[in-house]
Every structure is written in structure tokens, then in C-alpha cells.
């Protein structure tokens, strides 16, 4: 009898241990992410409301002063506009080109494997290295593009490809597109390859045109892949730093900044860490909205299991 009375307590202990077990398994990961991600997030918010000396010393709380300074600067608004153009243009064109490329790579043709492998190249290469190559290619004095075009007889004298801030920015968008297309291509391709071919066979029997098949079969069925690649790309491209920093450093006259290069310059070149933190918080809020949308999409998929 006495044993029977004891048993529940040990069982309770065991149950309690069992309930704690999953958290123990996740502890290393949680600790790592807290120390390296959560603490910096909190710090950014704290710094954005602090007065900070040029020597990076926090002098005290100053409310929304940093935000007021940031908003008062015309550079900030131009930067915000650039960020929008940059994100929409790069993600938009990359998705379009990547989709077409995936459709082509889904065809049977000789050398398909080689082309597939080539498409990986820009995805695997470090952004900083690609940015440096393109900076060299578009150089006005000895750049590879001028040399190539003049050898082909397309231009008589070297063109200054980056004469204006707009031209600079357009080239940066092109490099952004160049490095983003592969990710879209492979996401869409994996979606395309999971489509049951009987759909197309049935459509062929009905004599459906290419466009009808595209809009009624292909697009609806690869939509999940397109959604993931688009949402992830919005976040990656929004956060992309090396391309713009390497090619123009936000110049001429701070006209080609996006939020991330601007905050880097504010903090590491100009020593205005408070304002940089405020820009971070603004970027953070924009991203949080995107992340929230993405999470809803992902978890909805999760529940459908």
C-alpha cells in the first residue's frame, strides 16, 4: 500500500521532467538566438531613444529626438523612396525573369544540366565579389563593358555609365536583379517539377493554347513557390547592403542610399549612432510587417498538414 502512495509522486516528477524536456533540447538554440539577435534588437530600440556621443557613449534618454532629426533630413526621405524603388524593382524584375527562366529550364533540351548549374553561379557567389566585378565592368575609363562594346563596334568612344545618381542607382538595381534571379528560378522550378503532367495532357486533348495552360494550370500550381520566393526576396533585397555600398557608397551626394547603407553611414562614418538606431527601428518596423505576413502564410501551410 505504501508503495502505491509513493508512486504518484515519482510519476509526477517524471512527468514534470518530461514536460520540461523539449525546452532543454531547445535551450542551446534559444540561448544563441537570444544573445545574438534578441539582445541587439532591444539595444537598437534603446539606442534609438538615447543621446549618443560621437565616441559612442550613451549619454541618456532623449525620447523621440533621434527620430525627429532623421525625419527632418531630406536625405532620409530620398533614401526611403530609393528603398521602395530598389525593393520593388529588384524583386519584381527578378521574379519575372526567374519565372521565365524556370519555364525554359523545365523544357527538355540538350545541355539543360549545364545551364542549370550555370544559373547557380550568381546565387553562390558572395555579393561583395559580384558588386566589385560589376563596379569594374561599368567603370568609365577602362571598364570591361566599354571595351566590349567598342570592340563590337557599337560605340565610338567610352561611355560614362554612371554620369548621374539615377544611372548609378539603375546599375545597382541591375546587379541586384542579376544576383536575385537564381533563387526565384530554382523555387519556381521545383514548383513546376511537382506539377502532375496529366493536367497538361488533358489540356492538350482539349486543344488549350499556351497562354490558357499558363494561366489556368501553371500559375495557380506554382503560386505557393512564387509566394515564398517573393516574400523572402522582399526581405533579402530590402536588407541588401554590399551591392550599393560597394558600387556607390550612397553617393553622389547621398542620392543612392537605401535604408541599410544610410544607417551604416550614419553610424560608422558620421558617428551618429542614435540616428542610425532610429533608422534601424524604422526599417525594423517595415520588416516586422513583412515578416508577420510571411509567418501567417507559412503557419497556415503548417496547419494544413
Amino acid at each position: 500500500m505504501s508503495q502505491k502512495q509513493k508512486q504518484p509522486s515519482t510519476r509526477e516528477m517524471k512527468q514534470r521532467l518530461k514536460r520540461a524536456e523539449p525546452y532543454v533540447w531547445m535551450l542551446p538554440s534559444i540561448l544563441l538566438m537570444c544573445a545574438m539577435i534578441v539582445v541587439p534588437i532591444i539595444t537598437v530600440f534603446r539606442l534609438s531613444m538615447s543621446e549618443i556621443s560621437r565616441a559612442n557613449r550613451v549619454k541618456g534618454f532623449n525620447g523621440l529626438e533621434n527620430f525627429k532629426d532623421v525625419i527632418a533630413s531630406p536625405t532620409f526621405w530620398n533614401t526611403l523612396r530609393n528603398t521602395l524603388i530598389w525593393t520593388v524593382a529588384v524583386v519584381g524584375f527578378s521574379t519575372l525573369i526567374g519565372f521565365v527562366l524556370a519555364m525554359v529550364l523545365n523544357q527538355n533540351f540538350r545541355g539543360r544540366k549545364v545551364v542549370r548549374a550555370l544559373v547557380i553561379f550568381p546565387w553562390a557567389t558572395s555579393l561583395i565579389i559580384q558588386a566589385v566585378i560589376w563596379k569594374y565592368i561599368i567603370n568609365a575609363d577602362y571598364g570591361a563593358l566599354n571595351v566590349l562594346l567598342s570592340k563590337l563596334g557599337l560605340i565610338d568612344h567610352f561611355v560614362n555609365w554612371t554620369a548621374t545618381a539615377g544611372a548609378f542607382f539603375a546599375w545597382e538595381c541591375w546587379v541586384g536583379i542579376f544576383v536575385t534571379v537564381p533563387f526565384v528560378t530554382f523555387c519556381v522550378l521545383s514548383g513546376l517539377q511537382s506539377i502532375d503532367t496529366t493536367y497538361y495532357e488533358a489540356a492538350a486533348v482539349d486543344g488549350a493554347s499556351f497562354w490558357r495552360k499558363l494561366f489556368n494550370i501553371t500559375l495557380p500550381l506554382v503560386r505557393p513557390s512564387l509566394t515564398v520566393s517573393t516574400v523572402l526576396n522582399i526581405i533579402y533585397v530590402f536588407n541588401s547592403f554590399p551591392i550599393i555600398w560597394t558600387i556607390s557608397k550612397g553617393d553622389p551626394a547621398d542620392k543612392t542610399h537605401t535604408l541599410v547603407t544610410y544607417l551604416y553611414k550614419l553610424s560608422f562614418t558620421l558617428g551618429k549612432s542614435g540616428q542610425a538606431a532610429a533608422v534601424s527601428v524604422i526599417g525594423f518596423i517595415i520588416l516586422a510587417v513583412c515578416a508577420g505576413i510571411y509567418m501567417m502564410i507559412s503557419l497556415r501551410g503548417e496547419e494544413a498538414d
Binding site: 544563441l32 539577435i37 539606442l47 553562390a124 544607417l263 503557419l299 501551410g301
Partner: protein, 277 residues
């Protein structure tokens, strides 16, 4: 598949050809420039391919700057980050795949959310935190940061792999007297090898290619990884394009090869992680 008409075939190959040229163009430029002589580099009559291929550039680049040290630093950072990310990621992914507990949905959400916040946006905070922890100018700091920012992907991919494997074998092992840890190590992990290798390589590549954190945190020249180190050839008034591109090629080729190895599993893992519905 329908049969293609001849003009469609021509169009297809033409398109593919143009795509290949555009993709390869920067790599061709990188390679041919890396082998040029100084004279040819800045001559009044510039060339596309060098008339005289100066292969010694590929060797001299290593002597012109502590390139070897940069590579070593990159290997330490990427290798360390991979190790930490996987060692923390496997148990977390295991718990999220095999166990039921309160707050699982929240953790899954937090993992996805964390993927969204790139280090750049948090740079000011990261710099401040790392200064307090004396981890600026430290490879350990880079290891931990890269590991943390790759946790989301690692957990997501590993969890997907674990979920795709039936838990029957582990249960059988447990009935035979294995503990949970043993069941994981002896039964689940060997079967999950492709997923684990994919996660390992992808984290390694991400950490290898990382630029922004290293640029902000490392000022000691001998602690720079290669992505930041190549900037030595890129001074304000003097740019050594040949060495810059030679070194860049050395930093790029192994990564492309690694990437090609995991491409199939990676894409499957990414889409399986992101879209289930």
C-alpha cells in the same frame, strides 16, 4: 510534353544562349582581368582577353597581402559557425519535429521571424552588444553571430528532414532500451544525412560569403575574413584589379562547387520549409 516546332526550338536555344552569356560575363571578366599585365590593364588600347596571360598574378596575389591569413580566418569563421549552428540546431529541430509541448507554435513563429531580421538592420545594436562582450575584433564573435543568424534556416531544414522520416524506427529502438539521445544519434541522424549535409554546407556558404558584420566588427587586418580582406586591393587611390579578381576567384570557386553538390536537396528543403500548403 508537346512536340516543339522548329522555330520554337531555335528560340529556346537562342534564349538559353543569351542567358548563359549574361551569367558568365562577369566571371569571364574576372578571369581575364586577373591574368592581365599592368601595362595591358591601363593601356590606351584595352583588350577583352589579355594578349599576354600573366598567370603569375594568381600566385603573386597571395604574397601582395596576407591573403592566406584571410582565407584561414574565413575557414575558421565559416567552419565554426557551421558547427555551432548545427550543434544547436539539431536538438532544437528534433524537439520541434518529434515532441509536443506548450508554445511550439510560438517557437516556430519566432524561428521564422528571426530569419527576417538580417544583421544589417540590427548593426548598431550588434556593434553595441559585441563591444560590451569584448567580441569586436574577434573571430569568436563572428562565429556566434553567423551561427545565430543561420539558426532559422538550419532548424527549418533539419525539422523538415526529421518530419519526412517516420518515427517508427526510433520508437522500436526505444523499446529495445535506447534513450532518446541514443535513438536520435544512432537511428535518426544516420538516416537524415542528406538533410544534415545540406544544412551544413548552406550555413558554411552563408558564413563564408558574409560581408557586412565582418566589415563593421573587424578592424584588425589580420583578423579579416576574405570578403573584407580583398578590400586591401581596393584602396582609395590605388586599385590592384588583377590581385583583387585573382583572390576573388579563389574565394568563389570552392563555394560554387559546394553549392552545386547540395542544389537538389537545398531547393527541396527550402520549398518544403516555406510552403507546405
Amino acid at each position: 510534353m508537346d512536340r516543339r516546332k522548329p522555330w520554337q526550338t531555335v528560340l529556346l536555344y537562342l534564349f538559353v544562349f543569351v542567358v548563359c552569356i549574361v551569367i558568365l560575363y562577369p566571371y569571364i571578366v574576372m578571369f581575364s582581368t586577373a591574368a592581365k599585365t599592368d601595362a595591358e590593364m591601363y593601356s590606351a588600347n584595352p583588350t577583352i582577353f589579355p594578349i599576354e596571360w600573366q598567370w603569375s598574378n594568381f600566385i603573386d596575389a597571395w604574397k601582395a597581402a596576407p591573403v592566406f591569413k584571410y582565407f584561414l580566418n574565413s575557414i575558421i569563421v565559416a567552419g565554426g559557425a557551421t558547427l555551432v549552428a548545427i550543434l544547436c540546431g539539431i536538438p532544437a529541430a528534433y524537439a520541434m519535429a518529434r515532441m509536443r509541448f506548450k508554445g511550439k507554435g510560438f517557437f516556430l513563429g519566432a524561428v521564422i521571424m528571426s530569419q527576417m531580421f538580417s544583421p544589417v538592420v540590427l548593426l548598431v545594436g550588434i556593434y553595441n552588444v559585441m563591444t560590451t562582450m569584448h567580441l569586436t575584433n574577434s573571430l569568436l564573435g563572428l562565429v556566434l553571430l553567423n551561427a545565430a543568424f543561420n539558426q532559422a534556416f538550419a532548424i527549418w531544414l533539419l525539422r523538415g528532414t526529421f518530419l519526412s522520416i517516420s518515427s517508427e524506427m526510433e520508437q522500436a529502438a526505444k523499446i529495445d532500451g535506447c534513450g532518446t539521445v541514443q535513438a536520435l544519434l544512432r537511428v535518426l541522424l544516420p538516416v537524415s544525412a542528406p538533410g544534415i549535409v545540406t544544412a551544413l554546407i548552406f550555413v558554411f556558404i552563408n558564413a563564408w560569403n558574409e560581408y557586412t558584420i565582418a566589415l563593421s566588427l573587424i578592424s584588425d587586418d589580420l583578423l579579416k575574413p576574405i570578403t573584407v580582406g580583398i578590400n586591401v586591393f581596393y584602396g582609395y587611390n590605388f586599385i590592384q584589379w588583377q590581385y583583387l579578381f585573382a583572390t576573388s576567384l579563389f574565394a568563389t570557386i570552392p563555394v560554387i562547387i559546394l553549392f552545386l553538390c547540395i542544389e537538389k536537396h537545398l531547393v527541396a528543403g527550402l520549398t518544403a520549409g516555406g510552403v507546405k500548403g
